[in-house]
Structures are given as structure tokens and as C-alpha cells.
Assembly symmetry: D2
Homo-oligomer: 348 residues x 4
């Protein structure tokens, strides 16, 4: 039976990327698109790249529980600004599966939520019903899940690069993460810092010591390592670059014990032996261009004495958002994990 | 039975784009990749985006007819520099199907070939055995063809925009084509005019009065209109822009008779009623970004009195090269025309 | 005696470019900056590139004639949105010299003004007191002028390329102008079509048959040729490209009489023998990158039979706006025409 | 008396930037340009941006001491590939002043030179006669110097950001430097990693643990701090981004003692009270776009507990190369330090 899916926030960058990728998915059909404007138009009028591929109408979000019932959906992707999902989810049909791409349900700690998002955390019982949707480390929990909180783009790149090492307990506490992203990370709404005339020649650091993904990274690594404080010495600094798509993180760690390059490789290879979207590059340092448009994350590293620098690169809109959400969906629905996700990124 | 295909020039931009798209093709498997360097390496070593998706080796082109026989191929894509295919084809196995993406076999006139390519034309009998692979206008000839000469990128954009009008005989002879392209059109080899530091701020015209696609456009339009001189008054001027992918042509024509906007629409709609990759945009002027990464061509126009300006936009590596070659292949093999070609372009 | 100048619209792209260039002007000091926001801040707070170079405050525009008197200005640059200057100028101090970079006072015909700008034309007597500030063709009128209407960016590129030919009367009436510009032409305000994530991969035509610079081009060419209808057969089509700065126009003309390449060169050389900012390139086709950041316009051409294609390239913010306004000022004040304007464009 | 200067390597990026800036220098005239190709052509033929501004011929480097004598130069800039200057300098006229922009004469330690440049170090006595040309820290030595070794681009950004802190002795030994640069840093020669089609979407780390500027940074900081081992715990990781111009370094340090934000500001303010090209931004994090085209370096920082992250941004071709060399020249010649260097960077 074909599953019927809806996308809320369909005209944003993550939402349209969901629609793009799901267009090739054999088990599912997208039947509803929701956005805050463009109502009554076809998606192809709002986003011309879909002309000839989809003539779904853009609807406003249903405003009552009854109206939601009438949508006839089995599954709903939420690609909405922070805070909207937590208001929406309680009113959704009880059986509806939900994959949320925002940060609303990612953090178990209400205190951390308030600290990093600057707003009250949603109901804790509801939050607990969400599985953190990082497939490489959450496979058993995702199988059959109803609610998924899909990880943030920076968080995905950084957790995947650090998890095998913190799990193995081979790192000192001091970890410096210097992460770079492109203009699509700021969303589809026009803003001065994402204007072409300035952005194309800009590179700058932002949000020192307070990027909201920091809380998510700490939580995930603590959980994987089984030690609450494993990432307390982590410092995250994000940067804006003239890329459109892509996140590239350089992660500076110190080994707590001597390891050879082969031993480092072994730790990663063991952790990701079943993870087809993690590509281990060894000492070949990853370029964001290799994964652009694809669901892959590329991980490489350089070792000198106790200094181990790990490099992680992915497409923030695919593995960092829409692709990963679909990967989680494939697992929760019992489909092949890579369904609709085998596309190579286009280079050039 | 699965068809076995090879790609010659696999590490160039058109060649790697063939491999990218064919990765999703259900009827065919790529079994051989040829390039002039990187021999013995896997394609994923040379082009890291294919890591995890293909571990085919990169081979040199077989140098003898016997060696070609041993390749076990049913079909061969040639994505090689101009002039190489015409030396290669005579030595290929007799039953091998060939789709050539270069200009070698496009022109029926040896004189025009010599004039525009600056080198002797290949054997005329061999040239005649090639079908010009523009699916929208060559459908019957492509069915069951063995040899296909795939059109040039500029030629595709311009012929598709003009053909319905010249066929209907509604244009005066004077046609000005101002066409713009991106840096991927210059190929994967490093060259001073495609260096990032200068290209990103460059825009300039090149090859006035002598771009080689001019001959191809004239030939195709004459054939479609059934009048040899229909495009003799056409002037083609090409430009380099800071795009990576994309061709956008603005075509300035004069109607030989008054037409309404609806009548213009009617001519296009009739010509392309069965052409799923031609998207008619009417007075919405096409942006190359709408078709980036996809096999679509977008056509729009503006009409004022007898002045009709037609705008055409496509991805030079997909509809202008690899995608169109695959579209032609699908037809020649009797498969669904859009097999493996339903991908939306990624925006952003 | 040092002249005291003010800049209205100082935080826009043309306004800040005026401030940048005037920083090197030995005869003048900028003493007042006006903008619609940022009041009370220093210009270096609003535009960080000026840190260490200017600590002028950003003020709101004075709202009364008396307040204008108190500003102590000898000269005022207006770099404001269309329509603001015409409201402002009547209330300015009588002796104040004004250089307006907007379109308000460019057109002598009220009808054309209303048609192309969609709003009522300013008072005709006031408009007549403005000199159209294209130095290469208006030198005598600019000397000692009080009011200057500085030409539009597209208009500058196109008029300079066509004027010697229409003046000599060697062209047929049919002229097609295909002009391309960058994202800075849309101004400093954030807007969806100038967002980095889409613009960097976009190229599209806009405003067919109705760009407001068309009227200005027709008027200037008619005046130079001494024939009202000399440009009635001109068609102007503008395009947006991923450039930041730069206009490149390809101008398709037909000679009304046979001319050699040398004769074409002769017409340009004679017209611009005294014009140090017009660089004649002959058959070397100009690249916008050559004039980026400088006040030069590069003009080249290609001739084949009666087909003459003229190519013109300039920086829309310098020769197309701030630089040209300063060039006009230098002439009106009796200073050396190139004062503060000898900077080379930076490449890369 | 006007000084006569020559530029060796005039067609490279640093060389042409020297010519661009020196065009406005009142005390000096460039009389000779040397390059490895383009001989006999004017510089404006090779680099069209100089058309109308310079018609100097491009010459090969003189090959004998006598030929050098005949050049009539007072001062010579060397903007050549690594290793050429050290062969050239011994044969130059004895009184000729030399400013070398390459790495040949920067390092006092022959061992470090061999280690980081992979080739034998030049004669130590000759090396000792060179002053390391970082004006902010070498003012007394530069006055009247004959030979200057101009610092590397990364080194400049990083030393200026760290020097006040290491001088004050407030840092722990562990310092992580994550530095990002643009494509112009790779020079004007076409190469696969600087092709537009790939670079515009690329971001990747390179040269882990072995960038040649590391040695220079260590040496300079040790000298400033008066402690040999002050930077032994520094790790430098460089990255390529889609910028054309610009270096942005994020420098992760730990304070060895508690400091307030004001105290940090005080250390920088004191160190750079006389340095007009160092702009202190405090907690406003610098963007490379602010200094593009100018000789400024912008320094900002973020402090949280003992974690102090310092951010430094400059234009690699100006403060990181040509501009700094001219700044050093101004000092060595006794001219005003900012002569010809007061240009604002163009934004956009």
C-alpha cells in the first residue's frame, strides 16, 4: 500500500528538498503541501523547478484537529521555523507519523532547550515520544518509531565525526570544532546577510559559545559514550562562507593514548561498517563538493602525535536535513534504508 | 536482459554526468569507463563524488578492433574532445550502438564541417549513418537507430526555441541569438579563462560570427522547416558568464505576420504536445536555475507588435549533453523516454 | 578653498561608492551623510569597511529648507530611490550644486517619464535646469552647471557604444541591445531575487520592452545624432547574472553602408579622442572584469559584412553611477576630469 | 627625487596588485616590469585592466649583474615563486633596495627552511641582512633597511592576532588556528583545484601539520614574546574556500589567567595604538569583506571563561602581500606609512 505523505513548510529549502527527493520514492506519494504563503497556487508556480513534475497545490496548515483528520495522511514532514512544530504536534491525528526537521523536540533537557533556543521547552512527555533521528546511531529505536526529531545540520556532521572516538574513550576532554556552512543554511527568506552582493565575498564567524546545535551535540555524544560529561570540553564555533550548500567541520582533538593511523581507521570502520552513507576517506581530506546533492557524509582525518584532527563534510540540505529525514523514515517504515537516496551529487 | 554500456571520456564533465544519471537507470548497467588518464584507479579515486556508488576501474581506450570486441559492450557513449570519435568509430564492433556527444558526426555538409571545426570532415557514408539526436524533432528516426550524434548544448537550446516558429513559417529571416553559458561548458581541463579567481567576476562575448554550433542550428532548422535558407539570416553570439551550469539564450525575431500571444503559445504547444522535457513558460521568462541538474528545457517569450523575443534555458551538461544522450538512448532502445531522467534540479 | 559635500543615500551601494572614491579627492571633503536608517551611528558602524577611514555620523535628511541651510554644504550628491530627488530638490538652498544619481530629472519628455517610471514627471522647468551628466558627450554643458542628472548604468554603457555610429549616420534603424548586469544593480536592500543561494546559479531576462533606461537611451542618441527617431528601432533586453558588479552589453547593428574595420575604429577614435575613460579595444571583446572597481568603459566590436556587433562593459557602480557622477562634478567645478578617478580595478 | 622601482613577477596576482597600488604613489614611479612570459608586450596587453593606465613593457629578468646595473632602479619588488629570489638577490646591484614577497628570506633557521619548503636554505649571512617586514612589530628595524622579507598572508593574519597576547604572557601553550583562504592565494596559474566549475562549490582542509607559514609564525611569536617555545603548542590548519580574496583565521586559545573583556581589549589597544592598519573590532567578529581591496586587518574576539577565540581577517593580496610590502617600503624610505594605502575596500 502506498503511503501518503504531507510536507509542512514545503516552499522552504528543506521542504522543497524533501519534495525533490521524494519524487523518486517508490513506496510513498506526497499528497499534501503546506506553506505560509502561495495558497491556492500550484507548487510549480511558487517553485518553478517543479514545473512538469508536480502540480500539487500549496495549502495553509489545517487549523483544527478535524481538518487534519480530513487530510488523509499517513506521515507528515515538518520543515518549519523553530517553535511551530511544538504547537502543532499535540493537535495532529493520533496515528499520524511525524518527522520533525526543526529543533523543537531534539533536547531532553528543558533547561538546555530554554538556554539555547531562548524559549520554553515543549511538554516533556511529548518530547520523550520523539526518537532522535540519527540513523547511524539510532537504528533500533527508529524501527517502528512514530515520532522522529531529525538532527541539525552542524550536529549531524560533528556527531558522526566524533562518536566513534568518544565511544572508544580515546579522546581528552578538550575538543575544538570549527564549522563552516553556506548561505542555504539561513533559509529561503531574504535577509541582509544572505544577499548575493555581499555574501559572495564574505566569510565570518558567528554565534560564539552559543550555537544551539552545541546542546544537541553534547547530548548525543554523552548518550553514545554513556558518560554525561564526555563533551563538556567541546567548543563549537560556526562560520558563514560563500558556499550555497555544504557543511565542513574541522575538529581538533587530542588522543588520551597513542594510536596509529590504522587504529584510528579501525575505530571508524567498526562504527560505520553498516552505515552506507558514511564514507571514510582516511587521510584524504573531504571536500563539501563531493557530497553536494547527495546523502553522504565524508569523514577524513590527520594524525600527528596525539593531535588528531577529524574532518567531516556533508550537504546541509540532504544529509543535514531532508535526506536524513527520509533515511530515518525508510527505517521507521521498514523500507530499505537507501530508498530514493542513491543519487550522486552533481559535480560540477 | 540488462544492456551493458561503456563511457569513453568518463572523467570529463559530460562523461561523469552520464555516469551520475545512468546510476539510476533500471535497464542498463555501466560496465566500462575509459579516460586518457587515471588508468588502473577506480573512478571513485579520480572523482570522489562516486565513492560508495561505483568502483569501476578507469581504463585506456582499447586500441584495436579485437580489444574492443573483448569489452563485452552493447552500447557506447563517446564523450570525447572533438575529432576523436571520427577516428574511433570505424574500428568499433559492427553491432555496437554508439551515442556520440561530440560534434564529429553532426554536420551533413563536409564543407561546413571544415569551415566551423577547422579540420577535415569524417567519411560522409559513416556520417550519414548517424541520426541527429534531438528527440523532440527526431523521434521516428531515433527509434531503433544504431548511431546517434547528440546535439551541442547551445544548438539544443536554440533549435528547440526556434523550430516551432520556423516550421510554421512565421518569422522574417533576421534572427539574432544572444546566448550565455557557464564555466562547465569549457570542460574539466584547467585553463586560464576558467580559473575561479577571474571567472567569478567575468562576463564577455567570444567567437563572434564563427561559433561551431551555428552550422548545426542552420542545418536542423532548415530540415525542420523544409527550407534550406530558413536560418541564413541568423546571427549567433555566445557569452561566458560566472554560472557553472546553464545556457540561457535570448532570441530576437520578427514575425512576418501579426500573431497574438495565444497564437504564439499555440505554435509551441502543438509542436511540443508530446515532449515532456520541454516546459512552456509563456510570458514567464525562464531562469537557468529552474532546470539546473535536470533534463528540462524552459521556453518563454515576450511579444510586442512584430517583435517576438524567445528565451530558452537548460542545463548544458544534462539536456545539453548527458541527459539528452540518455533520452535519445531510451528512444533508440524502445524504453520509456524519461527513464532515469525524472530528477528535479536542486534549488538552491 | 575646499568644497564641502554631502551624500544622501550614503548607505546604499551608489552612496557608499561615492564615499569610497571621494575619500581620495583632494579638492573636496565629505562633511554630511544622510540615510533613512542608522541615524546617530557612525558610517563605520553601519558599513564596517569604512572603519578607520571615516567617522562621519549618519543623519536623516533635513526636513525643512532652513535645516538644509544649516548643513553648510556646497554640493550634494543624491543617491536615492526613484522619486525622492524630485520632492527634495525644490526645497534645497538656491546656491547648492546637486548631482542626482536617480532617474528623476533625466527625461525631457513628461510623457516618457510617466510611461517608463509609472509616476508623474517632476516640474518641467526644474527638469530643464538639469544637465544630463554624460561627460563624454556633454562636456560644454557640464562646465559650470549647477544641477546634473547622472545617467543610468545601462544607459551609459549603451549610449557610449552607439553614439559615434548614430552620429555618423552609418546604422540602419534596427538595433538589438542584449544587456547583462549583476546583483549590485538591484541595490543594497534584501530581496528574494538577489539572495545568494539562488542568484549565484541564476541567469534570466527581465522587463522585456519596458526597461526605464530605454527612454533615456533614445533621448540621448536622438540628441547626439540630431534626429528624433534615430533610436526608434532599438530594442533593449536586460538580464540578471551572477556577477556582483558589471554591465556588459552586446549591441547588434546593421551598417547602412559598407565600412571596413579601420573605418569603424576611426569613428570611435574620433569621437573619444579626448575621453580618457573610454578604452577602445577594437576586435578584442571586453570583459566586465577589466573595468571592475574603475571608472573605465571598454568598447570592442566585431564586423562581418554589414553586421556590426558592438560590445560595451563597465562597472555599474563606478562608471555607471558614483564614478561618473564624480567625473561630472570634476568638470562642473573646473577640476581635472580624472581627479580621484585614476584607480585601476582590482583583478582578481 | 622620485624613486624608480621595478616589479619582478609583475603579471602574477601579487605583482599586478603592487602595480595597481603603486599607480597612486606620489614618491615613486614604476619603471620596469619583469615576468616569465609576455615579453615585448605592454602590460596592458597582458593584463587588460591596466589599459589606459600603464604602457610599460613586460621584460624578462635581466640575466647578468651588468644588465641589472643598466635597469636604473632604486628599488625592486620580487613577487616570484619560492626559490627564485634566493638565486637572484646575490647578483643584484649592491645599492639596490629589495622587498621580497616570497618565503626565501623569512626564516632564520636553515633547518626549518628545509623542513617546510623542502629545499636548501639560502646563504645565512644573506638571510640575516633581510628584515622581516611586519611593520606593526618591526618599525625600528624597517627604518632605513635595505632588504625586506615580506611576511606570508596567513602568517600576517595570525601573528597580528596573537602577538599582543603572547607578548603579555597570558596564554597557555595550546593554540589551535583554523585559517581559511580564497582562490587567489593559489596564484594566477591555471590549476585543477582553482577551476571555477569546482572551486565555487568547494571547501576543504589542506596541508595538515605542515603548512610552511607555521615556521614563520613560530619564529615571529617567539621573537615578540622573547621566549623560544611560546608557539610550540600551536597547530595550524589551512582551508580553501570559494572566496577569491581574503583570509579569515579563527584562533582558539586558553588564558593562563582570568581576564575581563576590557583587559583583553586593553592588550590589543596598547599593542596597536600606533598601527593605523590594525582595526580592533572587539566582540564584533570580522568579515573578510570589510578589508577586501584594502590594507587593513580586522581583529575581533569572543571570551568565555578562560576560552578566548581571536578572529583575524585581511585581504591576502593587500595586507597579506602587496599592500604590506608597500607599507614596509614607506617605512624603509622614511615616507608616511600609509602613502598610497588609504583606499577603502569596495563593498560590494
Amino acid at each position: 500500500m502506498t503511503i501518503r505523505a504531507g510536507i509542512a513548510g514545503a516552499t522552504g529549502f528543506s521542504g522543497s528538498e524533501l519534495l525533490r527527493i521524494l519524487g523518486c520514492h517508490p513506496e510513498l506519494v506526497v499528497t499534501k503541501l503546506y506553506a505560509s504563503s502561495g495558497h491556492g497556487q500550484s507548487i510549480a508556480s511558487v517553485l518553478p523547478q517543479f514545473h512538469g513534475l508536480s502540480d500539487l497545490a500549496v495549502d495553509p496548515l489545517p487549523s483544527t484537529a478535524a481538518a487534519w483528520q480530513d487530510q488523509g495522511l499517513d506521515l507528515l514532514f515538518l520543515a518549519l521555523p523553530h517553535g511551530v512544530s511544538s504547537e502543532l504536534v499535540p493537535g495532529l491525528p493520533k496515528a499520524l507519523r511525524v518527522i520533525d526537521l526543526a529543533g523543537d523536540f531534539r533536547l531532553a533537557s528543558a533547561r538546555e532547550h530554554e538556554l539555547y533556543y531562548g524559549c520554553p521547552a515543549p511538554d516533556r512527555a511529548l518530547q520523550k515520544s520523539f526518537v532522535y533521528g540519527l540513523p547511524e546511531w539510532q537504528l533500533p529505536k527508529l524501527r517502528g518509531a512514530q515520532y522522529v526529531a531529525s538532527p541539525g545540520c552542524f550536529a549531524t556532521a560533528i556527531i558522526l565525526a566524533l562518536a566513534p572516538l568518544v565511544q572508544a574513550g580515546v579522546l581528552n576532554r578538550r575538543i575544538i570544532v570549527d564549522a563552516k556552512t553556506g548561505s542555504s543554511g539561513s533559509g529561503a527568506k531574504a535577509a541582509s546577510q544572505t544577499m548575493h552582493a555581499s555574501r559572495v565575498n564574505s566569510l565570518y564567524a558567528y554565534k560564539p559559545f552559543k550555537h544551539q546545535h552545541f546542546a544537541e551535540i553534547k547530548q548525543a555524544l554523552a548518550c553514545i559514550a554513556g558518560k554525561d560529561d564526555v563533551a563538556d570540553g567541546l567548543l563549537l564555533q560556526t562560520h558563514s562562507t560563500p558556499l550555497v550548500r555544504g557543511i565542513c567541520a574541522s575538529i581538533y582533538t587530542e588522543l588520551s593514548q597513542p594510536l596509529t593511523d590504522d587504529e584510528v581507521y579501525g575505530l571508524f570502520a567498526q562504527a560505520y561498517s553498516e552505515s552506507q552513507f558514511v564514507r571514510l576517506r582516511g587521510n584524504e581530506l573531504p571536500n563539501v563538493n563531493w557530497s553536494r546533492g547527495s546523502n553522504f557524509v565524508d569523514i577524513g582525518w590527520a594524525l600527528s602525535g596525539r593531535d588528531l584532527v577529524v574532518f567531516s563534510a556533508l550537504d546541509n540540505l540532504v544529509k543535514g536535513a531532508a535526506g536524513q529525514a527520509i533515511q530515518a523514515m525508510n527505517i521507521m517504515m521498514g523500507w530499505k534504508e537507501d530508498t530514493a537516496l542513491k543519487q550522486v551529487g552533481g559535480v560540477p
